[in-house]
Symmetry: C2
Amino acid sequence: MAQVEKIAGGVTAAKGYAAASAAAGIKYQNRTDMALIYSSVPCTAAGTFTSNVVKAAPVIWDRDIVRKSDGKVSAVIVNSGIANACTGELGLSVCAKTAAAAGEALGIPAKSVLLGSTGVIGMQIPVDKITEGARKLAASKAETLEAGTAAAKAIMTTDTHHKEIAYQFQVGGKTATLGGCAKGSGMIHPNMCTMLCYLTTDLAISKHLLQKALSDVVTDTFNMISVDGDMSTNDTLILLANGLAGNPEITGENEDYAVFKKVLFSVCRFLAMQMAGDGEGAQHLIEAKVVHADTKDHAKTLAKSVIQSNLTKAAIFGRDANWGRVLCALGYSGAPFDPENVDLYFAAGDQKMLIFTNGSAADYSEEKAKKLLSNEAVTILADMHMGEEEAIAWGCDLTYDYVKINADYRS
Amino acid sequence: MAQVEKIAGGVTAAKGYAAASAAAGIKYQNRTDMALIYSSVPCTAAGTFTSNVVKAAPVIWDRDIVRKSDGKVSAVIVNSGIANACTGELGLSVCAKTAAAAGEALGIPAKSVLLGSTGVIGMQIPVDKITEGARKLAASKAETLEAGTAAAKAIMTTDTHHKEIAYQFQVGGKTATLGGCAKGSGMIHPNMCTMLCYLTTDLAISKHLLQKALSDVVTDTFNMISVDGDMSTNDTLILLANGLAGNPEITGENEDYAVFKKVLFSVCRFLAMQMAGDGEGAQHLIEAKVVHADTKDHAKTLAKSVIQSNLTKAAIFGRDANWGRVLCALGYSGAPFDPENVDLYFAAGDQKMLIFTNGSAADYSEEKAKKLLSNEAVTILADMHMGEEEAIAWGCDLTYDYVKINADYRS
């Protein structure tokens, strides 16, 4: 196996990428609310977007560009505070004007500028502020790791911390880098979340394989997390590749492709878990792991059902080993199984407790279970004893703060 | 149309029915926790049960009896506090012993006694307490309205009030009565809720038509409510008919059948709405009404998606007219539509406000919307402008108290 190494940084870790952040005052005051990611060389782009029928204007804008076979991308402009969703023709015109302003300031075609928005649905973005912000970003971009981190911070909404990661790996005798940043943290649900995630690499790879790797990896990472079951209008995951690593372009599913895909999986899983653990109001990252299921689909369905159960999520918040709710959530998932043959465990770190077996409660200590569930990251493990398939889904607990955040999010 | 009249009472309103309640100390102390519903004449029985793969022991017990073509029912014994779910062989033996004790005390076959349980999953019911409770119930049963009300109270868990209703109607020249009681209030989700609901009528009707009417009515009433998206292991809806009204037995889908079905719909809708509005921690009943949808299935899918959206529920708790979340929930429901053609309204009482039209926000006052959303019952109306189908779903807001109740439910 080729050498893979985690390194510092995020979207600016790979060769040729710059970033910037700016306080444009779009909705938030006294904080940065716009970010730029820029590549000195036009990039091949891959992307996955929300499957919500209601798509935000920037999603419509980006999809058009990413899906074109010859669509090269040089920059991404993102704003937080207002989602530019359910904004009609006016919302689309804000996209065109933002891209035009950024393109002019950066000396690139408007159609090579991707856009992302996150925040309140239904409100219009003040066009003066976002175009002025785009110009500020262009003027202040820098190829430093700090600039990448600042961009990761500017796209946050109710996130409590920024999320970024980077890996270096060897491919075709060259060192390539893949980095990225993401934001959550409400309206997070499988099949794309209210998440924005931007990944940058200097790898040389064909557009077809870039998209294939991304689409494959998404199904087991971002599409396996849920914070609240609400699928956003704005979900966007973009992967840019500018080829500056100098490796022979990957055009087939060879060993280089396998190395890249493995690194991509690690990056996406890390950012997905960060998003789940930093769900609105969350105190716990919940990992639901289903093993020995009969089919992969059933394994995924079962794991997702557990992390989406409000009652399970509330029980974990209360550090209550209320395994009945877990079994109940498995039961209504739609995947068939015999409850008598399921073993349930709670786990955290290197601890693992059997709590349900042979159709009823195992002999375990409630006190020890409560202690185990006080860990920040807890695993609910279901052994179905039916086959060889497994799946992992990630979510978070349901807390007072989730309700508080969402009862007065707009005010 | 035959005369239909709402009358006082619940499960004992119809001729020949008695009820009782008892404090058996199964889990709760200092309150009643067991109920009996009894008919002096063996009843034809219909029922619908949870579709959760994990079924509680009393669900398994009841289904066997209700599904038999000649299975007559004379009594129902219900306990609150412990759900007798995920309790293996021991749980099933508790059912058999409870029915045997009740049968002996009432002088009826054990297999004519239905059982219902609600409460904590996974805990075993103390068999001495429940059999002793069954004997107490048999000894104290009475044909009074008060006894019916006492039974409705004994089956409550986190419900804040009991739920009962009764109607009288004319059929075949005779006066018949249909009454019932129900309990919620967490783990409530379409396709049967954690609900227990018992309906009693003195109508004479064939078993086939009794079940058909119940199954039809359930799809537009109980299966259209959701409190938290969690489908219980214990959901049970039982409808008993003892024939004492003296009407010619209904054996075909004639006018008498139509009258009965209409009354049954009113009773089920009332109890379903009561359950939704009394969801755990709820401050609001939320009604989602979808009109002018292209198909009935899409109308239902859209309406259910709105009442299940945690973000919409939290916004209503905050009296925040955050219609973007409603549109978003419609958008990820799976039903196709064009957001540009949807009109959204908030309504309460005789007030109705247009808030979204032509693809973006209507010109409405946020202040007035907040005032409207301060009503206890609010309607979210979506006009799809696609066809002639409509559907209504009922839910409740997501509050601090929901989290509080479910974070320490077991303790």
